[in-house]
């Protein structure tokens, strides 16, 4: 269990800032309407006693008609008052709970958005979604319902007890004596149900995660005809969740008979003790009726206690999960004294003796070792190497997705850690390997980094990345909505849109992580050409497998097992007869190379 700076309730109180006053007003209102609830029957029973059922009813009615009307008026008036108060109190609680929900939800979104890679590797999408939706809803419910119910119970029990004690303390004591028993039962219940609620939150997250992965991976599921397997797998999650739910609810039901019996014991005790008092003339009939008319005000809250405790435990378990995100701190964040207004970078990128390893990776050795190189403004650096050699990790150090544990990454001679993340990343255009588009229009996707981009510019960058032609052929052109993750587009098309998106922010440093791997050669050539003639100055760092991409670079780096083993121009590296030479050979096809040789 993590510990947080604040307890759950203190945290909740903090979230109510700005609406604490009306919340307390709502609690006060709850007390008031419950008070009215207790007093209104008094008026109606008076009407019945004095004007309808008593011996002098007819006489009273004849002589005190105004009193009758007053009582009737009071009854109606107070009920209307109560009804109005109830409405406003309910709305008050709803309003505050929605404000809290709104505030925490936005805060969590902000938090999630700004986390480091380790966070995303730890929490799965479905899990995070559960926290922002289902778990947070339990927090909302606490504010909207649980607190109101607790207030109601306290108000009813408190007022009635006081009234009882004033009337006859011995009888009152006999009735209240059940209290500690109930409390004991509820505490036992709490002990047993609390871990179940924790488990339930886990199971819900599990269910959400499983469903979300299945939906995201629907293509693979179909490709392997694994529908039955998936259904079976989901069934387990579903059953798990359903059974935990059952177990939680049944836990209450094992305690329910005790509480219910205790609540029912009240009128029985009243009848025994009150009856004996009556027989011994220690109590008047009127007092007895008053007692018996109000036992519900103690019995009903007792009955509610179980569900209140249940909901409270749900809040307890859920708020833990919410607070876990709420208080999480990314290890990569803005520096305390950032470089002020760096503006547009010149674009010089320098790695000085950089080594890197994933923190929790006990695998043998670092991912990157002693990487040093310099890319001057406007230059093109190509990086090549085997699958998993650390290329992607290397370029991710530039926008600070990770920080190196040794050495430094400099831009324009300044360590990247000294910029604010926003200033730093604003200057970097990155097209990742795993292309992720949003379910938005193509236009919206290209203008993702700069929503104010004019449509001419969107078209221009689409042209640069050789995307304009196929976009034009789409049913609604730039307004075509591409599905989540860009479905409906081929891999090459997605890559080109992702490239246009990176270019559209006119970055001073452009990083392409194998962005043209699924693009056909002719198109790639077009892209290479336009990259050479961009209308803004830009340093390019390109990861590529294709020689056609690398050969015109100012410098080619070969990465092997996290080290730079070769560095130089195309010609230099060919002359070296190393990894690069071999790669060229392979791609040309051995015989072709021989023929040309």
């Amino acid at each position: 269990m993590k510990t947080f700076p604040k307890t759950k309730l203190a945290w909740l109180w903090e979230q109510m800032e700005g609406c604490r006053f009306i919340y307390i007003l709502g609690i006060f209102g709850t007390v008031v309407y419950n008070g009215l609830q207790l007093t209104i029957p008094h008026f109606s029973s008076k009407i019945v006693d004095n004007f309808l059922s008593g011996e002098e009813a007819a006489a009273n009615l004849a002589n005190h008609r105004d009193q009758f009307l007053m009582l009737l008026g009071a009854m109606i008036g107070l009920t209307l008052l109560r009804v109005v108060i109830v409405y406003f109190v309910c709305m008050d609680f709803e309003m505050v709970s929605q404000k809290v929900l709104f505030r925490v939800r936005n805060y969590l979104f902000n938090k999630i958005e700004r986390q480091d890679m380790k966070f995303y590797a730890t929490y799965r999408t479905g899990d995070l979604m559960t926290r922002v939706t289902g778990d947070l809803d339990a927090v909302r419910h606490m504010v909207a319902w649980v607190v109101r119910m607790i207030t109601e119970a306290c108000a009813l029990v408190g007022a009635t007890s006081i009234y009882f004690f004033i009337m006859d303390w011995r009888l009152a004591l006999a009735l209240v004596a059940i209290g500690p028993v109930i409390l004991f039962v509820i505490i036992l219940f709490k002990k047993q149900v609390a871990p179940l609620h924790k488990l339930l939150r886990e199971k819900l997250a599990q269910l959400n995660t499983d469903a979300q992965e299945n939906i995201s991976g629907n293509r693979v599921v179909k490709a392997f005809a694994r529908e039955d397997y998936e259904i079976e797998k989901f069934d387990r999650c579903n059953k798990d969740y359903s059974q935990t739910n059952q177990k939680t609810a049944l836990t209450w039901i094992t305690y329910f008979p005790f509480i219910e019996t205790a609540a029912n014991l009240l009128p029985v005790v009243l009848l025994v003790v009150g009856g004996l008092f009556l027989i011994n003339d220690q109590l008047t009939m009127g007092q007895f009726v008053a007692f018996s008319g109000l036992t519900w005000a103690i019995a009903n809250p007792m009955r509610q206690l179980g569900s209140i405790m249940n909901e409270f435990q749900r809040f307890d378990a859920a708020s833990y999960k919410v607070m876990e995100i709420y208080y999480s701190q990314p290890s990569i964040h803005d520096p305390e004294d950032p470089v002020p207004h760096p503006g547009r970078f010149e674009g010089k990128v320098e790695f000085k003796n950089v080594s890197f390893e994933y923190q929790d990776d006990e695998a043998d050795g670092p991912i990157l070792r002693n990487i040093s190189f310099t890319a001057n403004p406007g230059e093109t650096i190509a990086i090549m190497g085997e699958t998993g050699c650390g290329k992607t990790t290397l370029i991710q150090l530039i926008p600070r997705f990770y920080d190196p544990y040794e050495g430094e990454v400099l831009i324009d001679g300044i360590n990247v850690k000294r910029f604010t993340l926003k200033e730093l990343r604003k200057n970097i255009g990155l097209a990742t390997q795993d292309v992720l588009l949003y379910s938005d229009t193509i236009d919206g996707n290209i203008a993702y980094g700069d929503s104010s981009l004019s449509s001419e510019n969107v078209t221009k960058y689409a042209r640069y990345s050789a995307a304009s032609e196929f976009i034009a052929k789409m049913p609604e052109g730039y307004d075509t909505i591409v599905g989540e993750r860009g479905v409906g587009l081929s891999g090459g098309q997605k890559q080109r849109i992702s490239l246009a998106r990176a270019l559209a922010i006119r970055p001073s440093i452009l990083i392409l992580d194998d962005t043209t791997s699924a693009v056909d050669l002719e198109t790639e050539k077009h892209i290479q050409d336009s990259l050479k003639h961009l209308d803004f100055p830009c340093t390019k760092i390109i990861i590529a497998q294709r020689i056609s991409t690398t050969k015109n670079a100012d410098k080619i780096l070969i990465l092997e097992n996290g080290r730079i083993t070769e560095a130089g121009t195309h010609e230099e590296l060919i002359a070296k007869h190393g990894y690069y030479y071999e790669a060229v050979q392979l791609q040309m096809g051995a015989e072709e190379a021989e023929r040309r040789a």
């Binding site: 004996l276 599905g483 497998q545």
Partner: protein, 595 residues
């Protein structure tokens, strides 16, 4: 389909259906299964309630007879009787709750199982057309919401209605005129409820829509957090989220504005009715037709009459609220399965590998043909390469072989068997398809590879990995094959993911192998090694390979150059080179580029 447009977080999903209780009727499918149990639970509640009615009578006896007579024995006897009554009703209530907990959880389970199973049948297109967050919210959140309505809600409605009928009968037996006064409140209530119903329904639909939009945006942003960060768009996205969040809040407040009116509304009406009884009662008394006792009796019935109505009002509230979710669930269940087994579909016999396209035309959207009149035949064991510009229709062709989509015109045959006439499962389970997007499930690497063959032994998995050159890097991982890969394989490079999904495909031992840009992110050296393993693999299997690096496909038996939705050239590498057409141009361009 005519007006086909994908949905995003920005738009609500339209649902053109007037409100009616038919959704509830339809839900009876789920209830039927438990009808016996529910009936039993209801009977228990009924008996428990009836037994509970004895309590006031015993109280009365005690107060009227035992106490005035100072008869302590009788008092104790009555108390014991009272205890028995209460204990009985507690036992009944406990049993009912036990039954209903199970029933309601089972109903949730059933609905969720159905919706999930149905989702598995829905074609790519369904998933392509809407944000996944909007699908997810239905499976998880909405289903959770409706369970109580379908179990306890339903029982309570029936009980309360019975309750109401009894009270009305009793009331009328006592006095007709006063009963009519009591009932006079009902039309008022009816008008009130009708007024509120329509507003409430719209309001709750809005809530479900706004939540759905929020969920969609949330999901996309969690998945795309890295993209957000690289474009430093955190603030802008937070603003968008805040707007969506605000809409949720507003729609909720609007909805509860009406919902919260129901209870006080009924309460208010009932008080007026009580006052009216007193008032008319008094007027009638003057005429001597009614005794005071009658008025007392009717006024107490009036209170009892309105209690179930108030309860019904609350349940009604709940129904209206949840029907907004229920209709979304049914909408998903009603989503037509466009790619489904034909009614008399048999199993695909073991595939030898002949693939034929007969005049195949295909359009994702009507009128926009992606493939036009494509015909070709591939003999068993042949390897076919598809080359050509991106977006030419290469992926579409291979998708049609697995019947991920239905052809618009023409036929696709495997071993001369029209694939639309065999079961999807028997067809696809014999195919190995490696998609462009190599999706990795969270779980161990071993689990991911095993996805291709669920009963594969560790040995088989290692062998498949060795064939695709994945074994080396897997062994270098902290826990080897047991290393947990997180969602979508973060911490694995794209190339590594491709190798794993390659191993997965190989393991499934397919009769027909489809590689769609399967090796695009794999470096050339690894690819060369992989090729050797692959060549052994390909022997005897029909295979379709889409690749841009021509060195990888040169040795294929057949190369098809696809452009503009058709086959432009077809032949072996040598033939096409001799032809000096599109392929020749492509190939020489590539070589020149390298050299």
């Amino acid at each position: 389909m005519a007006d086909h447009r994908r949905n995003t977080y920005k738009e609500d999903e339209i649902l053109e259906e007037p409100f009616d209780f038919k959704h509830l009727l339809r839900a009876s499918v789920y209830i039927k299964k438990y009808a016996g149990k529910m009936l039993f639970a209801m009977t228990l509640s009924g008996i428990g309630g009836a037994v509970g009615l004895l309590a006031p009578m015993i109280n009365q006896q005690a107060l009227d007879i035992a106490i005035p007579n100072k008869d302590k024995d009788m008092l104790f006897r009555l108390v014991i009787f009272l205890v028995i009554i209460y204990v009985t009703s507690v036992i009944f209530a406990t049993i009912r709750s036990r039954i209903m907990v199970k029933v309601s959880q089972n109903i949730i389970f059933d609905i969720r199982t159905d919706i999930f199973a149905h989702l598995q049948k829905l074609p790519f297109q369904y998933y392509d057309d809407r944000p996944h967050g909007k699908i997810l919210i239905r499976v998880v959140n909405y289903v959770n919401s409706v369970s109580d309505m379908l179990s306890n809600g339903l029982i309570n409605v029936i009980l309360e209605i019975f309750n109401l009928i009894f009270i009305i009968i009793f009331m009328f037996i006592v006095d007709v005129k006063l009963s009519l006064v009591v009932m006079a409140g009902v039309p008022v209530l009816f008008v009130f409820m009708m007024w509120i119903k329509n507003r409430q329904r719209k309001a709750w639909q809005a809530v479900s829509n706004k939540n759905s939009n929020l969920n969609a945006y949330l999901q996309e942003n969690i998945v795309g957090a890295r993209i957000t960060q690289i474009f430093a768009r955190e603030d802008e996205n937070a603003d968008i989220f805040q707007v969506l969040s605000e809409r949720c809040r507003k729609s909720w407040m609007k909805a509860v504005e009406y919902s919260n009116l129901v209870w006080p509304g009924i309460d208010g009406i009932s008080v007026f009715v009580r006052a009216a009884i007193y008032f008319t009662g008094l007027l009638i008394i003057g005429q001597g037709n009614v005794t005071l006792g009658t008025i007392v009796a009717v006024s107490s019935y009036a209170a009892r009459f309105w209690q179930p109505i108030m309860n019904l009002g609350n349940i009604f509230n709940n129904f209206i609220n949840n029907i907004a979710y229920l209709e979304r669930i049914f909408e998903t269940l009603d989503e037509p399965v466009t790619v489904d087994d034909a009614p008399d579909a048999g199993d695909m016999p073991p595939i030898r590998g002949k693939v034929t396209f007969e005049n195949v035309t295909f359009a994702y959207e009507p009128g926009k043909n992606v493939l036009k009149n494509v015909s070709f035949t591939v003999e068993p064991g042949e390897s076919v390469a598809l080359v050509g510009p991106t977006g030419a229709g290469k992926s579409t062709i291979v998708n049609l072989i697995s019947r991920f989509y239905n052809v618009t015109e023409g036929r696709v045959l495997i071993d001369d068997q029209d694939i639309s006439q065999v079961t999807l499962h028997s067809l696809r389970s014999q195919m190995g398809i490696m998609l462009q997007d190599s999706f990795i499930f969270s779980g161990t690497i071993e689990d991911n590879i095993r996805y291709g063959k669920l009963d594969a032994s560790r040995d088989e998995i290692v062998r498949a990995s060795q064939t695709v050159c994945a074994n080396d890097f897997i062994m270098r991982m902290p826990d080897g094959y047991s290393t947990e890969v997180k969602e979508r394989g973060s911490l694995l490079s794209q190339g590594q993911k491709q190798l794993i999904s390659f191993a997965r495909t190989l393991l499934s031992d397919p009769a027909i192998l489809v590689l769609d840009e399967a090796t695009s992110s794999i470096d050339v050296q690894t690819e060369r090694n992989l090729q050797q393993g692959l060549n052994a693999m390909l022997k005897g299997r029909t295979s379709f390979i889409i690749a841009h690096r021509l060195s990888t496909i040169k040795n294929c038996d057949k190369i098809m150059y696809i452009d503009d939705g058709g086959i432009v050239e077809c032949g072996t590498h040598e033939e096409l080179m001799a032809k000096k057409g599109f392929y020749y141009k492509l190939y020489t361009a590539q070589m020149e580029n390298i050299a």
